[in-house]
């Protein structure tokens, strides 16, 4: 466990990096510290933003003394420790994915000049550089193990997901050489060691593998999953990608349009230590709740 690094972010932010490299443990510490801070919530604290291996807070220094806040954050770091004994109440979600869909394929062809492999597709490139014999094998790996939502952001409601397998089995893919100016809404993307789902259409630098019919951001709050809030994902959500074919995609999309679609989900409790001891066994038990 590395020592955290603290920095002022101007006069209104404190930035804390818990580890330079990504790990589930660093993410778990970020979440445990920010959860504890939410409970203490000193006056003058405006935003608490957990991220992959770091977090930041925004505060009003006219109300909350910067040095007092800094001391409180350092205390919390000590209290939380390595966070392996923390159990996180969360949920397991199933996200249907049409891999190699026509829309992301059309988009990636338009931006081939910005890609490492102009003659291939994003998924053929990712499969090759990660040592998979075929795209199907790669898709089986991407959809075979669950993913841990380690951060929500970039744009409204976009989840970053960290693969819940030992590091030697993790998929790693560089971002585009130069970012695209377009990405279809609900693209399932990949950059570095993170998979993501683009919540809105727009610029992006992650590789594009497919698309989900499931809306994850609904500012009009017209779908049943969004009656409470317009953003679906929360840090800590555990995700299983389920490959679907075009027929099923169309069926699911019709149920979205009929305002009936719901993401399949079940509550679970996630604890880091037993997961790290036996990732495959722990994952199998986690996913049983969706069976």
């Amino acid at each position: 466990m590395t020592e955290a690094r603290y920095s002022w972010g101007g006069d209104e932010f404190v930035f804390v990096e818990l580890a330079e490299e990504m790990s589930l443990q660093a993410n778990f510490r970020a979440m445990a510290i920010t959860n504890a801070l939410r409970e203490q919530r000193p006056d003058g604290l405006v935003d608490i933003c957990p991220a992959n291996a770091s977090y930041q807070v925004r505060y009003d220094p006219d109300v909350l003394d910067p040095h007092a806040l800094m001391a409180q954050l350092k205390d919390l770091e000590k209290q939380v420790g390595d966070a392996t004994d923390v159990a996180l109440p969360t949920r397991v979600l199933e996200i249907p994915v049409l891999y190699r869909d026509p829309w992301t394929t059309e988009t990636l062809m338009r931006f081939r000049d910005r890609h490492q492999d102009p003659d291939g597709t994003d998924i053929s490139y990712a499969a090759r550089i990660n040592g998979y014999g075929s795209e199907d094998e790669f898709i089986a790996a991407h959809s075979g193990s669950p993913w841990f939502t380690s951060m929500v952001g970039f744009v409204a409601g976009l989840p970053f997901k960290y693969q819940m397998v030992p590091r030697d089995r993790q998929i790693v893919v560089p971002k585009y050489l130069r970012p695209r100016t377009d990405t279809p809404k609900q693209t399932v993307g990949y950059g570095g060691c993170f998979s993501c789902i683009y919540s809105v259409r727009g610029a992006g630098g992650y590789q594009m593998f497919g698309i989900t019919p499931a809306p994850i951001y609904d500012p009009t709050q017209s779908l049943p999953d969004f009656t409470d809030f317009m953003v679906f994902f929360r840090p800590g959500d555990i995700v299983k990608f389920r490959p679907v074919d075009r027929d099923e995609y169309d069926t699911l999309l019709a149920s979205v349009e009929a305002k009936e679609f719901r993401i399949r989900q079940a509550p679970v409790e996630f604890a880091l230590a037993p997961f790290l001891d036996d990732p495959d066994g722990y994952n199998a038990r986690l996913l049983e709740v969706l069976a």
């Binding site: 933003c49 220094p61 006219d62 929500v152 952001g153 970039f154 790693v172 560089p174 993170f194 953003v231």
Partner: protein, 321 residues
């Protein structure tokens, strides 16, 4: 009462003091990029200082008033006209039912603010009326104004002829200093890289919008390293981290980007400094081509500037309150 949009201008959005509490889910504060001009415009027309106004970038809209109202225009130098007749800026003036408000060309700054007595009365979303365009959230249908839009306005009791004293008006220059605190990932820069960042006169590129302002001028030298797992190969890559509002990221070690109030909330590029909250107004009023120096201050310096800004706000309230 309503306002009809006859011409939308280049990019006119409804903005107020902004929304807080949702940045952890990627929803940024939004709100007027120049918060001082927002406060001044509102106080001139008798509104609460954080009420919703129109933010007009580079080129103003043409607006038809369906009822009498009191209006004030602050921020960028962009002379307002009522039925073609010029009106002063930083002063409240009356419009009658049927009057058309339009604007002359921009001659300084970048963003003008139009306050109407009663405030622009679009629905409050997550605690604010501000437009967040990327998320199609808030404001008028979550987007910049378009021809034919009809904007609702609340009822107010403004007085024409009120004026911000000259020393409380912002003046604009094509050479600006923006105060920053170094930090975040500035250890990724070499000693030379850090010096280059602070010594270069940067030029604002045309990529300057509510999300971020991109500057050109130099390449920053980084220190060598073994990329940490999950960061990526480029020396400017980090494990995707949260971005403070005002933070300055340097993708590919060239062309620093100052994130503003519609910021992306996180990402994988090293940030090397953060613009002081008070100087975000200076960035907001920078037009492309503006020559910019980033000047380092420490926390005490930042808090002193904050106190100065607060004192200026207080004087504005005394004069107009």
């Amino acid at each position: 009462m309503t306002i009809e949009v006859r011409k939308p201008g280049l990019s006119t959005t409804v903005q107020d003091a902004g929304r807080t509490g949702y940045y952890d889910l990627g929803i940024p504060p939004s709100g007027a990029l120049d918060q001082y001009s927002l406060r001044a415009a509102n106080l001139l027309v008798g509104n609460a200082e954080g009420d919703a106004v129109l933010e007009c970038v580079y080129m103003g809209p043409e607006l038809l008033f369906t009822e009498a109202a009191v209006v004030a225009v602050t921020g960028a130098a962009m002379v307002p006209k009522v039925n073609g007749e010029e009106r002063p800026q930083w002063e409240s003036f009356a419009v009658d039912a049927g009057d058309v408000l339009s604007f002359a060309y921009l001659t300084g700054g970048a963003r003008a603010y139009v306050a109407v007595s009663g405030g622009v009365d679009v629905p409050v979303v997550l605690g604010s009326r501000s437009t967040y365009g990327l998320g199609a959230l808030g404001g008028f249908s979550g987007r910049p104004l378009a021809e034919g839009d009809v904007l609702p306005v609340g009822s107010g009791t403004g007085t024409a002829g009120r004026s911000v004293p000259a020393d409380l008006r912002t003046t604009y220059s094509k050479d600006v200093e923006v105060r920053v605190m170094m930090g975040l990932y500035d250890h990724r820069l070499s000693r030379d890289g850090r010096a280059t960042f602070l010594d270069t006169t940067w030029k604002l590129t045309p990529v300057a919008d509510r999300i971020g302002f991109r500057y050109s001028g130099a390449t920053l030298e980084t220190v060598d390293r073994e990329p940490p797992f999950g960061a990526g190969q480029d020396p400017s890559n980090i494990v995707d981290a949260p971005y403070p509002i005002g933070s300055i990221q340097v993708p590919g070690s060239v062309e620093p980007i100052v994130l503003h109030r519609d910021a992306v909330s996180g990402g994988g590029y090293m940030m090397v400094a953060t613009v002081l909250s008070g100087d975000l107004d200076v960035v907001a009023q920078s037009a492309p081509g503006t020559r910019t120096r980033f000047v380092e201050v420490d926390l005490d310096g930042a808090l002193a500037l904050r106190a100065e800004r607060r004192a200026r706000d207080e004087r504005l309230r005394e004069v107009l309150g």
